[in-house]
């Protein structure tokens, strides 16, 4: 866990300006001699001394660029234990290095920013929550890249950044960078229509079966009484005995009222 360097805030401005110019010069030198390797042994002691003081001044400037609510700075919040539970890893300097690498990688995909290095990404204010602020500086390390560019770069590569840390959009939050929502996964035919079709077909088939069986029963019943009617015609001409009862008193054609049964009148309340 790196602590913010308090030195930068105490240096007077005039001195800062001088050192900045100095820094540019010293930085430009290694670039022009890229073919030759930079061996620390090549530097004499005075150069080392100036190098160390330059490093301090560098960190001082970077602390100025990266602070909470700075311009073009973004706050990141990780919830590692929530996401991974027992398999949670500790957040240390190596993880920060990976984070810087992922951000630099995302920036390199933006046109005109292909020269972004890991050292251009500055982290500060790392807390136990695991939250921190970061900025991306330009190669001159003077000023930070505009927030819009950083935002679009992160959004394009959000998935890869998440995967590098085994997290997702909710557990690796970039505040002020909205995540692109996943498109809805609608199946081509909604499921409810399928189930509806199945139930409807079953009900239709069952109803048809019942109606058809009802019609068949009805036909069978109609055939039965018609046979009975033929024998009744015979009854009319000849007094035959059916089951010990003469046909005549039965009077099949006159309705089915059984006179032996209780009459309607007695059932009614007398008015």
């Amino acid at each position: 866990m790196t602590q913010p360097d308090p030195v930068g805030s105490s240096i007077p401005i005039r001195v800062r300006k001088k050192t900045r110019a100095y820094v540019i010069l010293t930085v430009m030198l290694p670039c022009s001699h890229r073919a030759t390797t930079m061996r620390p042994n090549d530097n004499n002691v005075t150069r080392e001394h100036t190098g160390r003081s330059k490093a301090k001044e560098l960190t001082a400037i970077r602390a100025d660029l990266c602070r909470p609510d700075a311009e073009n700075a973004f706050k990141v919040r990780l919830s590692i234990r929530t996401a991974l539970g027992d398999k949670a890893y500790a957040w240390d300097a190596n993880e920060e290095y990976l984070f810087k690498a992922m951000v630099a990688f995302s920036m390199r995909k933006v046109p005109n920013r292909e020269t972004t290095e890991i050292s251009h990404v500055l982290l500060c204010n790392v807390t136990q929550r695991v939250s921190f602020w970061f900025v991306v500086t330009d190669p001159s390390r003077n000023h930070t890249l505009p927030a819009v560019e950083v935002q679009s770069a992160i959004r394009m590569n959000r998935n890869r950044i998440n995967n590098a840390f085994f997290l997702n959009d909710q557990t690796l939050e970039f505040l002020r960078i909205p995540s692109t929502l996943a498109p809805p996964t609608d199946p081509s035919v909604p499921i409810w229509i399928i189930i509806f079709g199945v139930i409807f077909c079953i009900v239709l088939v069952a109803t048809m079966l019942l109606i058809i069986s009802g019609i068949r029963q009805h036909r069978r019943k109609n055939k039965g009484p018609s046979e009975m009617e033929d024998s009744e015609d015979k009854c009319e001409n000849v007094i035959t005995i059916e089951n010990g009862i003469p046909c005549d008193p039965l009077d099949m054609k006159g309705g089915h009222i059984n006179d032996a049964f209780v009459t309607e009148d007695e059932r009614l309340t007398p008015l």
Partner: protein
């Protein structure tokens, strides 16, 4: 009638043998299925919780003993003795009371319209439960996919799915909007299933009832076992059943207990009369009445235990999530390590931070998380089934399975009640002989279901749910209470208590005791009259209003209270009184017909009876 030994051969108006139950179990299950309906699940637990838990059982049992069981016994006895549907029965008791049967038939028609619409909604949810994740678990994306739909974000995914994706409800009852085709096709299937089961009357319902009456008990047991093993279930149950005897001083409690037992047993609809008319004449209807009423009440209790164990789980998990949100705010604001504050140490941590940095703590959007507040969030009716319970199911492991079971149970509960409703319409029509004899029964039931389907399409409009509330409140309640009052008075005073007791003695082998006669003659009519007057006073005390779902309301997601427009109020009044108007209309008609008869024919001791059996 008491003099004759009684009919040996069951004969109905058509002369053919009257259909009969295959066995006693079918009859009992049909009556139980008709009585046990959606109200047992979503009305009784709500009343229990609102009115002081266990203390509510006292007015409930009193109402059951003095109103529910006596009325139920009358219906079964009258149907079994006179072997007709409701129209035939009341015409047989007295031609002046014939209007009661027509009133019962009309109320049954209105009730079956909106009851099956509720089943349509249940079917829609059932069809949507066969997927993971459930469609009401997350908000859909808006049109340009930058965020969630505004309406869903402001309310909740569950409410959004109910009000927008299911009902597509309009903001005003006057704004009818087009017919929702999704609901229309579900309505068609719903009525097709009802038709399939009642196509041949009790011949087919008797087979279907084995499943539809028993399946809900199976699912309730599964939910009970699952619910009791969920965390937070015991808190829900203790909260539900902790008695608070002070509520008994509130007259509203007694009114609600009485109306609950009345509607729970599905009295005065004519369904029980129809079912009992298919019984053999010598059947112990008194024992049936008492046992079915007790089964109905036991089912209500059983269902409320299952429902409240699940709701207790929901309250506990909501409370836990509320605490988690507060903890996250604290951790993010003060950059504390993850999981350094747990739910148990939250209050201590908050106190500590408040002492050291009160200004920052005050700036945080912390919610007040009290378990009692979450337990208090009760709901009844469609709110319980489609919003609260569906949300509870989301958090149970294996959510689609529980959703399918729950909505399957609701569908079969409602379906078994629909059988009773349809029988109370079809049996009187069959007895009246509205169709020529050679037309098979399937055609009559088909026409009845088709007519109901076309009329019920008005509930699939965008304002359909508002109309359903109107039907539920005005068409059913007042009419049923009045009709029940006329029933008791008709049997006790017009038919004659002595004759009725003789009939029951013939059917069951024992004369009804003092309890029965006292309740029929005095207690039940008085109770019913009191309930009717109290209900009318309650409805008249506040101007009728409804709660609209209006996304443009400034206090959205709260529902906006709007008064009914004039034409809707007129419809409410019509619905409240038209079915009962049959009673005086038919009585007057009979009186006029008799006066005309008397003036036309010279007065005689006994008129000659025409073959059709019509008395003069």
């Amino acid at each position: 009638m008491a003099r004759t030994p009684g009919p040996d051969q069951p004969v109905d108006g058509g002369g053919e043998e009257r259909p009969a139950w295959d066995n006693k179990l079918q009859y009992l299950l049909s009556c139980v299925g008709f009585a046990v309906g959606l109200g047992n699940l979503w009305r009784f637990p709500y009343l229990c919780q609102t009115y002081g838990g266990g203390a509510f059982l006292i007015p409930y049992i009193i109402a059951l003993a003095f109103e529910g069981i006596p009325l139920f016994h009358i219906e079964l006895a009258v149907g079994q003795r006179l072997r007709r549907g409701s129209i035939g029965v009341w015409t047989a008791i007295s031609p002046y009371l014939g209007g009661m049967g027509l009133g019962c038939c009309t109320v049954s028609f209105l009730v079956s319209l909106y009851y099956n619409t509720v089943l349509t909604w249940v079917l829609w949810y059932l069809l949507n439960s066969f997927q993971h994740p459930l469609p009401w678990s997350a908000c859909p994306l808006d049109l340009n996919r930058t965020g969630l739909v505004q309406e869903c974000r402001d309310s909740s995914p569950v409410s959004y799915f109910w009000y927008r994706r299911t009902l597509n409800v309009s903001a005003d009852i006057g704004d009818s909007g087009p017919v929702q085709w999704r609901l229309l096709v579900c309505l068609a299937v719903s009525w097709a299933v009802v038709y399939l089961c009642v196509i041949r009357g009790i011949e087919t319902t008797g087979k279907a009832i084995y499943f539809t009456a028993l399946f809900p008990y199976l699912v309730l047991t599964v939910f009970l076992v699952r619910g009791l093993t969920l965390p937070g279930a015991m808190q829900g149950l203790t909260y539900l059943f902790t008695p608070d005897l002070r509520v008994l001083q509130n007259p509203r409690v007694w009114l609600d207990a009485a109306t609950q037992i009345f509607f729970s047993l599905s009295l005065a609809l004519g369904g029980h009369i129809a079912f009992a008319s298919y019984n053999p004449p010598r059947n112990n209807c008194r024992r049936d009445a008492v046992s079915i009423a007790l089964v109905n009440s036991m089912t209500s209790l059983y269902a409320s235990i299952a429902v409240f164990s699940v709701l207790g789980f929901k309250a506990a998990s909501d409370h836990g999530r509320c605490l988690d949100r507060n903890i996250l705010h604290l951790i993010n604001a003060f950059d504390l390590p993850e999981q350094s504050v747990s739910r148990d140490t939250y209050t201590a941590a908050l106190a500590r931070l408040n002492a050291s940095q009160p200004a920052e703590v005050a700036g945080l959007p912390l919610e007040a998380c009290r378990l009692e507040d979450f337990l208090d969030k009760s709901a009844s009716g469609t709110g319980l089934a489609f919003i609260v319970f569906t949300e509870a199911v989301l958090h149970m492991p294996g959510a689609p399975v529980w959703a399918v079971l729950f909505f399957g149970m609701l569908f079969s509960l409602g379906l078994s009640s629909m059988f009773g409703n349809m029988e109370s319409i079809i049996t009187p029509l069959l007895d009246l002989g509205v169709m020529p004899r050679r037309v098979p029964k399937e055609v009559l039931t088909g026409l009845a279901c088709l007519l109901c389907f076309f009329t019920a399409t008005c509930f699939t409009l965008r304002s359909g749910s508002y109309w359903l509330e109107i039907f539920d409140q005005y068409a059913a309640a007042l009419n049923l209470i009045l009709l029940a009052f006329f029933e008791v008075v008709g049997v006790a005073y017009v038919y004659g208590m002595k004759r009725f007791c003789d009939d029951i003695a013939w059917m069951t082998g024992r004369r009804p005791g003092f309890y029965w006669r006292a309740t029929w003659k005095v207690v039940s009519p008085l109770l019913l009259l009191t309930i009717f007057l109290a209900y009318v006073a309650l409805l008249a005390s506040s101007p009728p209003h409804y709660k609209a779902w209006n996304p443009r309301y400034e206090r959205f997601p709260l529902r906006q209270e709007k008064p009914y427009p004039g034409w809707v109020l007129a419809a409410c009044v019509l619905l409240s009184f038209l079915p009962t108007l049959w009673v005086p209309v038919v009585a007057l008609g009979q009186l006029l017909a008799r006066c005309r008869q008397k003036t036309r024919d010279p007065p005689q001791d006994r008129c000659p009876k025409p073959r059709g059996g019509r008395a003069c």
